[in-house]
Symmetry: C2
Subunit: 165 residues, 2 copies
C-alpha cells in the first residue's frame, strides 16, 4: 500500500441539528427542503474560524452520513427507477459516506449557524464548512446525465419525501 | 465524548494524477485551471460504481489535502490581503483538510477518469466522486461575502499561480 492509499482519520468539528429524524422521511437535497430550518453547532475550539462567514448567503456543508448503512456500487436513486452506478448518484451508501449539502445561512450566533434548506439528519457529524463562492461554483453549461431523464416535477415529488405536503 | 463526535476513518478510492507538483504553483480553483488536464485513477474494486457517470459533463471531487500543513483558524486567502476566518475561505489548512473541486469530465476509460480544469496536486488521495447536478447545485442569488471585495481580474491573476502566463 502506498502512502497515498493510507487510511485518513477526521474528527467532527460540530454537529447538525434538524427536524429530520428518520432517513426515509428526510428530503434528499436542499432544493427539496425549502423552509426546513436547522443548525450547525460548532465545537468551541473552532469558533474563531467562523469569522467573515456571515457575508455569505449559502454554504457547502460536508458531513458524515452516520446512518447510511453499508456501501453499494449500484443503487436505484431516490428520483429514478433504474439501477445506476453509485458515483453517478448522490446516494449516501458510498465507500466514503461523505455528504455535501448547499444550504442557506440565515445568521450566526456564537458557535451556532442558523440554516435553512436543511436536508440533513439530526445528529449528523459535521466535517467541514465552505463558503459557496459564485465565481467558483457556478457552471452554466453542465449536462445532467441520467438525471435529465427524470422530469423536475417527478424529481421534486420523490425528493421531498413527503415534506411540506 | 458522544458517538457523534467519534473519529471517522476513510480510505481513498483512488488517486489524482495531474501536472501540478508544487503547492505554491498550483491553481487555487478549477476556474483558474482551465486546460489543466489530469486523471482520477480509481481502485479496481470501485469501477462498477462509475457506470452512468459518463453522461455528466462536470464532477465534484472530494479529496484529502495531503500536503496542507497544520490547520489554522485565521488565514490570508490566496486572492486577498486580509486575514479571514478559515471557514470563510477555501484554504487547504482546515481542521479536516477535505478539498472540493468542480472539474470537467472528458471521458472514462476503464478505471481512469480523464479530466480538465484540474487544480489538484499530483498524488492526491481521492475520497469521493459526485455528479454535478445542475438542479441541485446551482444558486442564482448567492452573495459572495468578502470575495466580492476582490475584483475578478485580481482574483484570476492570483488564483492562477502563474499557470498559463
Amino acid at each position: 500500500m502506498t502512502a497515498e492509499m493510507a487510511p485518513i482519520v477526521y474528527a467532527p468539528i460540530g454537529v447538525i441539528r434538524s427536524q429530520h429524524h428518520e432517513p426515509e422521511k428526510t428530503p434528499i437535497q436542499p432544493v427539496y427542503a425549502r423552509g426546513c430550518s436547522g443548525r450547525a453547532e460548532i465545537l468551541p475550539q473552532y469558533v474563531e474560524g467562523l469569522k467573515d462567514l456571515d457575508g455569505f448567503s449559502h454554504l457547502l456543508l460536508l458531513y458524515h452520513f452516520h446512518r447510511a448503512g453499508e456501501s453499494l456500487l449500484t443503487v436505484v436513486p431516490f428520483t429514478d427507477d433504474q439501477p445506476r452506478g453509485l458515483f453517478s448518484t448522490r446516494s449516501p451508501r458510498r465507500p466514503n459516506p461523505i455528504g455535501l449539502s448547499l444550504v442557506r445561512l440565515l445568521r450566526i450566533e456564537g458557535a451556532t449557524l442558523h440554516l435553512s434548506d436543511v436536508d440533513i439528519l439530526d445528529g449528523t457529524p459535521l466535517l467541514d464548512i465552505k463558503p459557496y463562492i459564485p465565481r467558483f461554483e457556478r457552471v452554466d453549461d453542465a449536462t445532467a446525465g441520467w438525471t435529465a431523464t427524470v422530469d423536475e416535477e417527478t424529481a421534486r415529488q420523490r425528493g421531498r419525501r413527503g415534506y411540506g405536503e
